[in-house]
Symmetry: C2
Subunit: 663 residues, 2 copies
């Protein structure tokens, strides 16, 4: 191990347990390139995706590679009629949800309603080929639609220049796809991890609140409405137009909302009744349309969708707009919507995979999502992902594979080809009701309460996301929540806890006296545990804090008239790494301790720490004999020296008292 034979001051006559001779090992040196390669692998390939390619023939490798990119090649050959029956039912069920939801969400993004249908045709087909989730149902998402609307709305007004706005939406979708695919290809999926669960809960809740408020426009049948996404402006806009409220529209909206919520209530009570909730939007649309058709309510203040173009997706690759005036907005919208869509989609995919006990590769999913949006942007689709509501219906309907997405796509295709005229009389207020009903389930106040109980900081992150989204705008909320989350990580390192350890009775174990109230201090010794890596960000703090612990301990000992402080033991078990600033800090602590006439000992430094302490010569300054494998051994050695240096009689008396502590 490289440590030569040191003479331990106590080794001659220490009445020794064998344990006392354990040495702290310096890990065997590794060539720089090898250790760099190792670090990069652990950072970017924790799941070792190339594992199955090892020791295979080139032909087999090609097959495996294709199966990796297109999972359908892997499960396709094993596909049975049994599976198809299940997928057919699930696919038709989600199509009945996808059609009204698609139209509604497209309105949310200020895009033509037909785009919602287009977006439920091409992307699900792409996902069926490339996606690895069996339960995800692909389609447009509420929050993504809202984000597209509000972010693009800042540069182009959808009413003034609908064509430019539409083209920018395609361009943003392309960038979202490129960004998602790039994250997957370069294995940077961990960026999505920075959207913590708490952030997503707060963010989704905030976005849902904003969306619900925006739907007041539809419910009250208002023509003019603010595009700003902030609550105060909304409410002002709604309540300054009281004279324009249409009671017909409002009544219709409330009735359908009640119906949708009632359907959900029954579905929640009995899982078998999931289809009531799944079919409710479509039945609302049909009932609403029939009502308008027969009562001619469109002439009495109830707005309708109007004409929808027949035919499947036209190509839109020539519509992509790379005009430098709008490029920044398009890229920004693409990145933000792309990452949000990924975060939701992957979380949804993972939770259903958890249920059914299969594994989802995050980076592979990102590539699938990316390709799906790239293909979508060329075929008149806007941002798609894996909405939770649709996927849950898919799961409950008993889907087996991604074929349910193909079935849905075909159902949507048939609608596009033949059934669009049927939507002429569909009242907008029904779409608003559908959106509100979907959004209400996103406001997950129970999760927020849970956060408050378990982790106050996570609650603060969640609330800041919510408040930011509702009172400022979506980006502010997101930046606030992510900023706070990162600050928490930095603060953990910048302000590590230092814990005083004491002996657990009847053992050789030393634990925090705060946590274990029965742990006893060892007289003459101060044992400190440092709870984080020692980095530049905390080295000054730790020096100050350790000095203060020593001061406090001395004051306490002086006050009690006990033996003075003699040894300071630092438990390094939880110190995962150290940098050069940290080593300087240890040097300074050693000087401080020396100057006061105490001795410094380190217990259980890890591999990385030992490597660096050795290279920086700190080990020589400290003396190898002051390194111990465990706190117990350190205490044993210190106690031995403490008492063997005293007049014989006292030492004997006390050695009995402390014999428990000697390992």
């Amino acid at each position: 191990m490289g440590n030569a034979d040191y003479t331990y001051p106590w080794s001659n006559d220490y009445n020794s347990h064998a344990a006392a001779s354990h040495r702290v090992a310096i890990p065997p040196p590794q060539p720089f390139v090898k250790s760099l390669k190792n670090t990069l692998k652990e950072t970017f390939f924790p799941d070792d995706p190339l594992r199955q390619f090892k020791n295979q023939s080139p032909r087999k490798k090609l097959v495996l590679g294709l199966q990796y990119l297109f999972p359908i090649l892997e499960w396709g050959p094993r596909y049975t009629l049994q599976f198809f029956k299940a997928d057919l039912i699930a696919g038709i069920t989600i199509a009945s949800l996808a059609i009204p939801q698609g139209i509604s969400y497209a309105k949310l993004a200020n895009l033509p309603p037909i785009l919602g249908l287009y977006s439920s045709f091409v992307p699900p087909l792409v996902y069926a080929l490339m996606g690895s989730s069996r339960d995800l149902a692909v389609g447009t998402v509420a929050v993504g639609s809202l984000l597209t609307g509000s972010m693009l709305g800042q540069v182009v007004n959808a009413n003034d220049d609908p064509k430019l706005y539409l083209h920018l939406a395609f361009t943003a979708t392309l960038f979202a796809g490129l960004f998602e695919a790039a994250l997957g290809i370069f294995r940077l999926g961990f960026i999505v991890d920075f959207l913590s669960h708490a952030t997503i809960v707060g963010f989704m809740g905030g976005a849902a609140t904003v969306v619900c408020l925006q739907q007041l426009k539809g419910i009250f049948g208002l023509d003019h409405f603010t595009h700003a996404t902030d609550m105060i402006l909304f409410m002002r806009s709604v309540f300054t137009q009281i004279h324009q409220w249409r009671w017909e529209s409002a009544v219709l909206g409330c009735v359908f909302l009640f119906y949708l919520l009632l359907a959900r209530y029954f579905s929640k009570k009995k899982a078998k009744l999931f289809w009531i909730s799944a079919m409710a939007p479509l039945t609302s649309v049909i009932l609403g349309s029939l009502l308008v058709y027969f009562t001619h309510a469109e002439k009495h203040g109830v707005q309708v969708i109007g004409e929808l173009k027949k035919g499947i997706n036209p190509a839109s690759i020539m519509d992509l707009n790379f005009d430098s005036r709008y490029l920044t907005a398009a890229i920004k919208t693409g990145i933000v919507t792309g990452i949000i869509a990924l975060a939701e989609g992957i979380a949804v995919g993972r939770s259903f995979a958890m249920f059914k006990n299969y594994h989802i590769d995050g980076n592979k999913e990102m590539i699938a999502f990316g390709m799906m949006n790239i293909a979508g942007s060329c075929t008149s689709c806007y941002l798609t992902a894996g909405p939770f509501s649709r996927s849950a219906v898919n799961f409950n309907a008993g889907c087996k594979t991604a074929v349910s997405n193909i079935v849905m796509a075909f159902a949507v295709m048939i609608t596009l080809l033949f059934l669009t005229p049927l939507f002429y009389y569909t009242p907008l207020v029904v779409l608003s009701s559908i959106i509100i009903a979907a959004m209400l389930s996103l406001i997950d106040y129970e999760a927020a309460i849970h956060l408050w109980h378990v982790d106050k900081f996570d609650f603060v992150v969640c609330m800041s996301a919510y408040i930011g989204v509702v009172f400022a705008n979506i980006e502010v909320g997101l930046v606030l929540a992510i900023g706070l989350s990162i600050m928490r990580v930095l603060l953990f390192v910048a302000r590590p806890r230092t814990l005083v350890l004491g002996n657990i009775p009847d053992s050789k174990v030393y634990r925090s006296v705060d946590q274990y109230q029965n742990a006893n201090n060892v007289p003459g010794l101060l044992i400190l545990e440092i709870d984080a890596p020692i980095y530049f960000a905390n080295s000054n703090y730790l020096r100050e804090r350790i000095s203060r612990w020593i001061d406090d301990e001395e004051d306490k000992l002086k006050a009690s008239g006990d033996t003075g402080l003699q040894y300071v033991i630092l438990d390094m078990s939880a110190v995962g790494n150290i940098d050069t600033s940290g080593i300087s800090m240890l040097d300074e602590v050693k000087k401080i301790v020396d100057r006061r006439g105490f001795k410094l000992a380190l217990a259980n430094p890890g591999a990385e720490v030992m490597k660096k302490l050795n290279k920086s010569k700190f080990l020589e300054t400290l003396g190898q004999e002051w390194l111990f494998l465990t706190v117990g051994e350190a205490v044993g050695a210190c106690n031995y020296m403490l008492h063997s240096c005293k007049p014989k009689s006292t030492a004997d008396d006390q050695s009995e008292k402390y014999s428990n502590n000697i390992v």
Copy 2:
């Protein structure tokens, strides 16, 4: 502790050491307000500055408060004639350095030379009252001057509009002071800690390189020169003007540079000869001026300072410019220069305090620096801090207290009142030589080599700061280095190491098998240590990584035909904290482990972790009996169960083999 009596599956007949009954304690619940108060105190008041105020009379508190703000009140009454003699010599010595350095650095910032003298008059007086370092010599700093010049130069050209430029320099100084004081008052000093030692080494080296190159202008006597701070433009500017090089100027410059470096060389060899190096700049100025005066070299291409206004600092409070066009630049310059000046000044103060064994309060120093710059901005001074070179001379000259700063200020005042005409003939090339000589000592290549040996990442940070400063500009270098440093901290948390533990022979201790090559795996058990807090940023990673460890272990066991995996033990010793995402991760790991038919055990979760696991009901899911105080106890219990469930004969055979591992 709140944990009820659980029946341990092995408690009936476990041939038990008493240790097996140790419970992991849940820390006693604390009221939310109290724990918040505690956290805030640890975060912002680690040094407990109000400690001395406890249990004092109001009158005493007032005195202590004043002494806290003005340390001179504390040491002043104890000041002796002995001290004064030492401070007088040190003060005169640093004044002889301060005058030429002040003039040189003011040129570096494109400010009138006289400002350098003004800045060595008022700020040292303020610092003497408020500062807590006994060795810091106050004055303008090279890097701060360079930064002021380059950052303000981006909005105003110093040659085109010298008055506006001057006023903006005062304004930037005011903002620097306000920012520094605010950091100190709000106890945000830890922001300065984010400038790691490695960053500062690289940054200082880069800035010194840039400054040296800029001085080529002075050495070659060039009139026109680029203001861009990037090396390639410099070199082009120098070498495209070869026809304008003045050999008289160049010869003079080289001679003086050689003299200055020689003086430093002797001083370094013998610490007692420090005064040679300290006096060298002043003697250079005197010799250079005499030479020019007698040879009339100013008419042969050697540029001179020219007239300096007599008299002490005029007030500049009315010159502060808050014009909105320049405000952003002034604030930005103030913040960047302020924080860099603080980082250097506090590091210098701390290192000398370390030598003399007294303590410096970082936040108090920040307030002193801030007040000194606020006062300076109103009295025609620009940014001041504690330059290393001047402070080192002060220290070597034997200063005792901040009175040496007062002495220096008076010497500068006398110069301002009576001696400014003497500088008329001082050649600019001598100033350039002084700057180059000072800068060469800032390029600390030895420190960079040390970083490479000890910590490769710190070396990368250092080099990125250097390269950024030299090839792009100062801000790019700084942002790059700080960004990388922060990324490292985030990466530590986002990609924590997971270590497989094995048993150290002849002990009950379990350590990483990578570090301790003699550590033995325990058959049927996988023991993993997680080396960082479990946060949103790493929970997905950890789930994947732990799954992979389990897969690997199973493969290995299958290949060797050994008993299959039965227990997975997570050592939580190094997990300082957990958030709700982390708890979900543990939940999922528990599910994964259960599904495969293994059992999950946790060893030594800390106080914070226990608190949250308890609140989130994870402890109930896991079962209290699967929590252990140490890995040893966990292994003991698992081994017991492993063998007691087997046919009697085998169990007996094996129990001997593993008896070492049972605690």
